[in-house]
């Protein structure tokens, strides 16, 4: 019995050690450590699906912003956003919206901290990095630090050239306030390039900004 137990224990711990060693070579996924966040990890698919469903429920409420409700008054969305982040710590949109709501309510420090957390949890997100830089500029008026954060955006990829175009305008203002003329010039050139690219893009969505019944583009 003792011998059998010892052999089985060796098999268990040996297999576990082998799994740890082999997992580190699985396509850079570092599963050895990542899978260990289990208790919960096997249910990660369900968690991310529920987070997305909650967000889909929230989005129509967010659109009330465009109907005149200021962002700072939309605190009713925060509990759901908090739940979304808990369920799916890599949910980009939640980190983009929530920090602005919190900061506009008057707790800039808390809002900035959440924005920073977003950049840590999703380091590849240009949107979150740019938004964090903008928040530093707006709420702390520390343009030098905002420009440092903006520097990190340039190596990241964007969801679309339209999003990139909008944010490069914001980032250019940050660099201008920080006195970084070289970056202002660089982003101006980038914006011209993106403008040219957009002009050649076949946009399949018509917009009627002046509501005269005739699409503007």
């Amino acid at each position: 019995m003792v011998v059998a137990t010892t052999l089985l224990l060796i098999a268990l711990l040996g297999g576990q050690a082998a799994a740890d060693a082999l997992a580190q070579h699985d396509g850079g996924l570092e599963t050895g450590r990542a899978v260990g966040r289990a208790g919960f990890a096997y249910l990660s698919g369900l968690r991310t699906a529920v987070a997305a469903m909650l967000w889909n429920r929230l989005e129509p409420q967010l659109h009330t912003y465009y109907l005149g409700v200021p962002l700072e008054d939309q605190t009713y969305i925060l509990p759901t956003i908090s739940l979304v982040i808990t369920l799916d710590p890599q949910f980009e949109q939640a980190y983009y919206v929530a920090p602005w709501v919190i900061a506009r309510r008057g707790d800039a420090e808390e809002g900035l901290e959440l924005a920073r957390l977003g950049t840590l949890n999703i380091p590849e997100s240009a949107l979150l990095q740019a938004s964090y830089a903008q928040m530093i500029a707006v709420f702390e008026e520390d343009y030098a630090r905002a420009a440092q954060e903006a520097d990190k955006v340039l190596d990241l990829s964007w969801e679309s050239i339209f999003e990139q175009h909008d944010w490069f305008g914001v980032l250019r203002s940050i660099y201008k306030n920080a006195g970084r003329q070289d970056m202002v010039d660089r982003l101006s050139r980038e914006l011209e390039r993106i403008d040219a690219e957009i002009a050649q893009t076949d946009v399949d969505v018509e917009h009627d900004h002046d509501a005269d019944g005739v699409p503007d583009h």
């Binding site: 059998a4 098999a11 966040r37 208790g39 698919g45 997305a52």
Partner: protein, 243 residues
């Protein structure tokens, strides 16, 4: 000896069929089909990975529910109904009874997991036009974990009732998956903490290229180690019990 163990396993398997376990598979297929439209799309090309993740999560959930429902009450019910005496007086040793019971549960769960895998692959093929055979690696790991949980249930249920068995099994699964929350790989205890983390391959299966043959072998070692120890414990507990 082997014949007696297999005979017991077969009786557990047939009993599960009589209890209409097959309906679990039908329900699972229905849940999978209903889940597809609700899946989030994080962008082009990612949705298949999300499907694999959700498919494995639902398979895990369904397998654990099935395992617990089969394993938690099997031995307590046989003791309560006194059918266990009829088995043990026929020169069946107690360890054979426990091993046969576990094997029957494992085979039943294995058949269900096989069916779940077929559902996962077929639904994935119908929804995304891609035959995701890689999912079988993930469901195999789930089956191994279910085998360990079944062995744990057999061990605990040899001395106590089904409610405690279910609660303790859930606690066991949680504790066996918390190694990386308690320790870091540099810690000496990292190697000595007996965990089930090796059987969780959701990341490489859902988002990567699967796992290597060597890794599957290491999973089997972990499975044999855990199951063997738990069945030895159950034998020790059950042999001391005054029936």
């Amino acid at each position: 000896m082997t014949g007696r163990v297999w005979a017991l396993a077969a009786s557990v398997f047939l009993d599960a069929l009589r209890r209409k376990v097959v309906w679990v598979v039908v329900l699972f297929a229905a849940v999978m089909a209903a889940a597809i439209p609700a899946l989030p799309s994080y962008g082009f090309g990612v949705v298949e990975a999300v499907y694999r993740e959700v498919a494995l999560a639902l398979t895990y959930l369904a397998t654990m529910v099935l395992t617990l429902s089969l394993a938690a009450n099997r031995i307590p019910a046989e003791i309560e109904r006194r059918t266990v005496y009829g088995v043990l007086v026929r020169s069946v040793r107690r360890w054979e009874y426990l091993l046969g019971t576990w094997l029957g549960i494992f085979v039943t769960v294995g058949a269900a997991v096989f069916a779940f895998t077929v559902v996962d692959v077929v639904v994935g093929w119908l929804a995304y036009g891609e035959l995701m055979f890689r999912l079988a690696e993930g469901t195999f790991a789930i089956l191994l974990e279910a085998g360990v949980v079944a062995a744990f249930c057999v061990a605990v249920s040899s001395v106590i009732g089904p409610v405690v068995v279910v609660v303790s099994a859930l606690a066991f699964v949680f504790l066996a998956h918390t190694r990386s929350q308690l320790l870091v790989p540099e810690d000496i205890l990292w190697r000595l903490y007996p965990s089930l983390d090796a059987l969780n391959i959701i990341n490489p299966v859902a988002h990567g290229g699967g796992v290597s043959v060597g890794y599957i072998f290491s999973m089997l070692l972990v499975f044999v180690g855990w199951t063997g120890i738990l069945l030895l414990v159950s034998t020790a507990l059950f042999s001391r019990r005054d029936l």
